[in-house]
Amino acid sequence: MYFVSFLLLFPVLTAVLLFFAKGYLAKKIIVITSSVVISGMALIFATMNFFTLSNRFYIKDAEFVNILFLIIEFVIMCYLIYLGIRFKKYYVSLLSLVQSGILFWLELSGQAKTEHSFNIYIDKFAIIMCSIIAVIGCLICVYAVGYMKSYHQHHKEYKDRTTLFFPLLFLFISAMFGIVFSDNLIWLFFFWEITTFCSFLLIGYTKTKEAVTNSFRALWMNLIGGLCFAVAIAYCALKLHTLSLHTIVHMGAGAQAVTIPVFLLCIACLTKSAQLPFSKWLLGAMVAPTPTSALLHSATMVKAGAYLLIRLSPLLAHTVAGALVTTIGGFTFLATSLLAISQSDGKKVLAYSTIANLGLIIACAGIGMYEAVWAAMLLILFHAVSKSLMFLSVGAVENSIGSRNIEDMHGLIVKVPALAFVMLIGIAGMFLAPFGMLISKWAALKAFIDSNSILLIIFLVYGSAATLFYWTKWLSKLVAGVHHSERKDNQAKGCEWFSLLAHSGIMIFLCLSFPTISRHLIEPFLSEIFGYKISSIIGDGNIQIMTFMLCMIFILPFGIRVLTLDKTSKQKSSYMCGINTGDDRKFVDSLGEKKKMYLSNWYMEDLFGEKKILLPSIIIATVIIVVLLVIGIGGAL
């Protein structure tokens, strides 16, 4: 109880402190200290409950909290309505009004009063999520301390609004804790809305026209989700007479009664996780400073949707709602993986990759089989770390070389070796055997096969191929050894660098320790929600093999040293049809002058360009949703 309240309240406190803190140093100190405290507490909490945890409910009938929430909700609503009117986005005002209105009505009319409603519920899944949020979230905050300073040095055109920025980050983290701890749907919804609101403000940070448009896009898309959420709550309250997520899940998959709220919640999750057709908001979120993107993409925000779906997964197995979620997830995975091929903006690639990976997670959750959910949870874990690492390193690279375009990262290993190495680890983590993501994909594939879902198999096999392509091509850009190119300074110092290193460390640690995590955290949770003891998914033999591979990768560089291959090989200029001008970068061109050779990656614009497939995929996804909704809800009514 103590831990939970602490984790919920301490970030809020920090936020308040930060809001009033004057000067950069003060902010820095506050951010670092509270980050240490928060992640420390979360980790202690996790270790305490690592081996044993009987699920715990907390906080029954906290009337005053409800009222507090209501007030905050009301303030936010008013603010949003105001903004909607001011920026002439009336639909935003309307959406906000309707969804909050539903809630107020529920609360005020007393309909929301249900039996034995516990508000907080802790189980192993909550522990996992809480650790991810705390550790990754705080590392991002620490990074932000260093980053925002250089950000404003590089971008003089934007006003320094860090006074608002840092508090928002911490508020966000607090809200995420809220989401994973809440059992009461109303509480959950409250935190859900807070994340929406914070992300809206964070995305609009720079206040440029683009930022404002994108933030509004994020807002209205999430509000649609929120609306669905609100309706679901109303339905639960009125028809099921319960608002406990836990209870609803235990009603079982077959129950007719839950069909409609589950559908609605699924839609809410799809918007939150930026699945097609709602994926545009996440792409737009890139305009914000890097820490925001990292936060939204890796540990928080989008993970909220995935989190809720995993919670709901027992209800999804073999239902139309499940089919909806898996199909959309799988389709999103395929479509956005293909889209990522045509992108050269580092952050945009990452954004597409985030959407794709969430698609995969969501597809797994939608299958509702324990292997699939296992895979989904591992994916959340690994994705959070490596994606955050990637975002932060892209940010650091941007500060160092002045661009986040992948093309400009050509030869990064020579220009800024340290960052290149960090990035290599991040990319490897994203898709390479034997790193985490791949293990999870292995499990996901197995689950897909076992679920007899040919459609998912199609999505997965083609999507993986695309994934392979865009990551590897990034990788190959990084390692190009451009001789005589200037060394650039690694701008990531202090906080930023620490955060990056910590991420890398965690990455490797996770790869080595995931069997333990699986055994003590994931499997018990699965046994519980599926109601039977489950065997371990991945055989010991295979785990050993993967660990072995991992070790090999790390031994290799030293092996080369030992074999002294390096020393015995002589360096020669590269082959340029005989007209290299000696420094490997230039050749004698047709007019007899020195011309710089330039090597670009493949983008295949005409096959995979946004122009070509974005719109069709949105349409297809919409059609899928509409059709399945009609079938599902029609069946339920």
């Binding site: 198999i457 392509f469 091509k473 990788l475 190959s476 055989g539 591979m549 390096d566 015995t568 493949w602």
Partner: protein
């Protein structure tokens, strides 16, 4: 025990087998072209020579990556011949390939980088089919484990003929044979010069060649497990099928022009769909 023996046998004899295969390949190809051709042992002469040459690199990272390539190819083969998990083996070989690609692009040279981009494209082209192969085995025999696949009662090919053909299709890419020798080729006279391997020479080139032999042995092994089942004679049939399949590859090599990348990508994906996915569907239907 038998697993360890077969792994060791692979470690020792795969190069021999791969080299001989390359030799026979070159001989048959030459004869098809109306030439006498090199001696059968020529690939071995080549590789010994390569290792005895001066080692030159454009970038020292090349050494690292090329060794990574070899190590993971061998690892893949060992995993396979140990009777391990087929899907993992495929993941491992992907990793190996990525090492090769990084090796090629680390040189920052025009042709080697373009070759690596094309190699990447090829990987993207055959990846779906490769996964489908693994999936097919899993559905047909109930396991990803090679050990279990070869001891199942019926040959996998009985229920996965489409996947088998699809595999042969992408094998042409993997063997780097015309019409799919886009990224590098055994013959000179390619727009890519030597593509991927332009900047490799002497020892490093020797290593890639060696890795290639290991890889080929592994790839042919996969043809075999399509056939092999619990009976002893299935091994003989498997041998014959492998030989035939390889001969077909040589024949195709000599009767096709090199296609362009779009054709490669489209056709592989279509084949993966038409042969692979439909076969999977049928499998589900039967089960």
């Amino acid at each position: 025990m038998i697993k360890i023996v077969s792994t060791v046998l692979y470690l020792v004899f795969a190069p021999v087998f791969g080299g001989l295969l390359a030799g026979v390949d070159r001989k048959i190809t030459a004869r098809m072209q109306g030439r006498k051709g090199p001696p059968i042992l020529q690939p071995f002469y080549d590789i010994f020579k390569l290792f005895s040459k001066e080692a030159i690199v454009v970038d020292h990272l090349q050494n690292l990556f090329v060794i990574g390539y070899l190590v993971f190819i061998i690892f893949t083969g060992c995993l396979f011949f140990y009777g391990g998990d087929l899907l993992l083996a495929f993941f491992a070989i992907t990793l190996a390939e990525i090492f090769l690609i990084m090796c090629a692009s680390s040189a920052n040279s025009a042709y080697s980088s373009m070759g690596s981009q094309r190699e990447l494209l090829q990987m993207m082209a055959y990846e779906p089919m490769i996964l489908i192969v693994a999936i097919g085995f899993y559905i047909a025999t109930g396991s990803f484990s090679v050990g279990e696949i070869i001891t199942s009662q019926t040959s996998a090919i009985a229920t996965t003929p489409g996947i088998f053909l699809g595999y042969l299709y992408i094998l042409t890419i993997k063997f780097r044979k015309s019409p799919f020798d886009l990224s590098t080729s055994h013959h000179a006279h390619q727009e890519m010069v030597k593509g991927l391997t332009v900047e490799l020479s002497g020892r490093t080139l020797g290593i890639t060649e060696l890795a290639h032999w290991y890889e080929n042995t592994f790839l042919i092994g996969i043809i075999a497990i399509f056939i092999i089942n619990a009976t002893w004679w299935s091994w003989i049939v498997a041998l014959a099928v492998c030989a035939l399949a390889y001969f077909m590859e040589i024949l195709i090599d000599n009767t096709y022009a090199r296609v362009k990348w779009k054709v490669l990508l489209n056709s592989s994906w279509i084949v993966a769909f038409g042969l692979g996915i439909l076969n999977l569907l049928a499998l589900y239907y039967i089960k």
